[in-house]
């Protein structure tokens, strides 16, 4: 499903350059739930950005769903992102002047769907995250957990192959974190492939596989016994 070979990335800092990723090899199968861990500066966010096509590697190979991702123009990247990927951000990144329904429908707008279809699909996904009754509320009227659920519904709306989550529970309290994780796990149970960046051990332990990065290389890549978040709820 996702295959990465010898990925390198460095950023120029003044005259020198910072080598952030030093040859990453990673392959993720369909239906996996992978946590990428590491301290800050380990390159985990850079890796996620490259996988999310928000950034491009200097060297190496990246194949997503049998499509080699290379020579991305902004336009091509936008189309791939829309087609393959769903993003969940730490700070939710909902558009504050659009209500929950319109937020969820936004990726579908960029897919070029008709309004009626978009509303139907968006409502379906809002129902799935349990916020159908909140469809016409603005983000500021929702709690943090609700916002993240709207964001998850939005990430799911375009029916992506891969869900990318960047510290999805970073801005939430423990109880809400566990609720969100329980929901993400249920998505994974349904077969969604999920890749998340986190630095919290208990969150990582709720995934099925943990990849540990340090100084731009993979230190450890192990399948783990998944802790069900529902145990805590």
């Amino acid at each position: 499903m996702l295959k990465i070979n010898k990925l390198h990335k460095s950023y120029p800092i003044g005259d020198s350059s910072l080598h952030v990723l030093k040859g990453i090899d990673l392959s993720v199968e369909e239906g996996e739930m992978v946590a990428i861990m590491g301290s800050s500066g380990s390159g985990k966010s850079t890796l996620l950005n490259i996988i999310g096509m928000l950034d491009e590697a200097d060297e190496g190979e990246y194949i997503l769903d049998n499509v080699p991702i290379k020579d991305l123009t902004e336009k091509k990247a936008a189309i791939y992102r829309n087609k393959f990927l769903g993003f969940i951000f730490q700070s939710f990144n909902l558009i504050n002047y659009k209500n929950a329904l319109d937020n969820v429908a936004l990726p579908l707008y960029y897919q070029g769907l008709k309004r009626k279809e978009r509303i139907e699909t968006a409502l379906f996904h809002l129902e799935k995250v349990g916020l159908k009754d909140w469809a016409h509320h603005l983000p500021k009227e929702l709690s943090g957990g609700q916002k993240q659920r709207v964001a998850i519904a939005r990430a799911l709306a375009a029916n992506p192959k891969l869900l990318l989550a960047d510290e999805p529970t970073g801005a939430l309290d423990t109880k809400t974190s566990h609720e969100i994780m329980a929901f993400i796990q249920s998505l994974n149970d349904e077969g969604k492939t999920i890749l998340m960046v986190t630095h919290e051990e208990d969150i990582a332990s709720m995934c099925k596989r943990i990849v540990r990065l340090k100084d731009g290389v993979i230190m450890e890549d192990a399948f783990v016994e998944q802790v069900r978040a529902s145990e805590y709820v």
């Binding site: 999310g52 928000l54 936008a78 087609k83 504050n96 897919q111």
Partner: protein
């Protein structure tokens, strides 16, 4: 261009503009003011032009009046200070010999005591050819002007101005075919014309030229002549040529500038037309410049808005918006604000012109006559707005997509 017809495109525009209504409204003030200024100034300029046209309206504008004065130089045995007398033959010679002449109309004028029933008054009476109507348009209210038969038969007929009618006749009294006494002679009224405009000497009464010569014993003498040039000829040149011939015919020194006086209507008209053109240019200049300032203000505000929305734009791009879609949206917002502000400006400008028209545009003495702008000017203004809006929108549009989504999304 199909996206323009889609509800969502506009929903996006309204959403993002409605987010900060006050700022959007303030942004629009600049363009609104620019277009308002353009419309009101252009309308007023048109009003002034119309009022000048009304003043000159009754005259052929490429005309010059020539009359005789006294000489300032001795010539061929004559002392200086000799009173020169224009003759009807002079008029004929000028018509035959000066290039580019349309008509030469000899005229005479005197005072007469006019009596009708028990009412009387002193008025000017002019002896005229029917041709006068070509040079100084007579707006007939009733009846006709002097015609060729009147001239040929030395008829005692008269065309009177509305002013005289008001002074000598009862209200609504019939006057065509009535007789009035001019210096004791009965003249039959054949027509009534509107009292002359504000330019040049206005006539009270016109009688046939030949009749005038007879009753005032003028012989071949004339008071002055009106020379009209063909449109393609320079009236100043015609004036100079005519005066040269007159000096020659009347044995006046060729460089004697005092012997013949003249009033060049064409030159005066040119001055005013030049002034009006200048005013119109100024109006466009000021209007467009203000419009530019307004549009730049919109561009500036959108640039700020785009910067504020950096994160939102990043999210949209992460969700699959192409750079083109983002740019299109920003440009559309720019054009939309510009256009709406412009339309409000045009409407308020039109209302102000209507107000101006009702305050200053009424009656014969009005300073601004029919102050208005044509539809084509409105369209030109709208086109300028759309073009400027698009161009200025491109700046924030490119700014919006110049930041990579990864940088836009980076957590603080």
């Amino acid at each position: 261009m199909r996206f323009l017809l889609e509800r969502d495109t506009w929903q996006e525009v309204f959403d993002s503009l409605g987010k900060n209504k006050l700022r959007t409204a303030l942004t629009m003030v600049g363009v609104w003011w620019g277009i308002l200024l353009l419309i009101v100034l252009l309308g007023s300029a048109r009003g002034i032009e119309n009022s000048f046209n009304r003043l000159f309206g009754s005259f052929a504008t490429n005309s010059v009046f020539v009359w005789a004065q006294s000489t300032s130089k001795p010539f061929k045995g004559f002392q200086e200070g000799r009173q020169v007398q224009l003759k009807i033959t002079d008029a004929k010679k000028i018509e035959d010999n000066v290039e580019g002449i349309e008509f030469v109309v000899p005229r005479n004028r005197n005072q007469a005591l006019v009596i009708h029933d028990f009412l009387s008054g002193n008025f000017s009476v002019s002896g005229d050819y029917p041709l006068l109507d070509q040079v100084q348009k007579k707006k007939m209210i009733q009846g006709r002007f002097i015609n060729q038969t009147d001239i040929d038969e030395n008829r005692k007929v008269v065309a009177i101005s509305e002013e005289i009618y008001k002074q000598l006749f009862e209200k609504d009294a019939e006057m065509i075919g009535e007789y009035i006494q001019l210096n004791g002679m009965n003249f039959k009224i054949v027509g009534m014309f509107e009292t002359g405009g504000n330019m040049g000497p206005s006539d009270d009464m016109n009688i046939p030229f030949t009749t005038f010569q007879q009753i005032y014993n003028m012989g071949g003498n004339i008071g002055w002549m009106m020379i009209t040039g063909k449109p393609e000829y320079d009236i100043s040149q015609i004036e100079a040529d005519a005066k040269l011939i007159l000096r020659n015919l009347n044995k006046v020194h060729p460089e004697d500038n005092r012997a013949f006086g003249s009033f060049n209507l064409g030159k005066e008209f040119e001055k005013i037309t030049g002034f009006l053109t200048g005013m119109q240019f100024l109006t466009w200049f000021v209007g467009i410049a203000t419009l530019f300032a307004g549009v730049f203000a919109i561009g500036n505000i959108l640039l700020i808005t785009v910067r504020e929305r950096t994160k939102e734009i990043g999210v949209r791009r992460a969700l699959g918006a192409t750079p083109f879609e983002i740019k299109r949206q920003v440009v559309l917002e720019a054009v939309f604000i510009t256009l709406i502000a412009g339309l409000i400006g045009i409407i308020t400008g039109g209302l102000i012109l209507m107000l101006v028209d009702s305050l200053f545009g009424q009656g014969p003495e009005a300073v601004l006559v029919n102050a208005s702008v044509s539809i084509s000017i409105v369209f030109i203004a709208l086109t300028i707005l759309i073009v400027l809006g698009t161009l200025i929108g491109l700046i924030p549009a490119f700014k919006a997509t110049s930041i990579k989504p990864i940088d836009a999304l980076r957590e603080e």
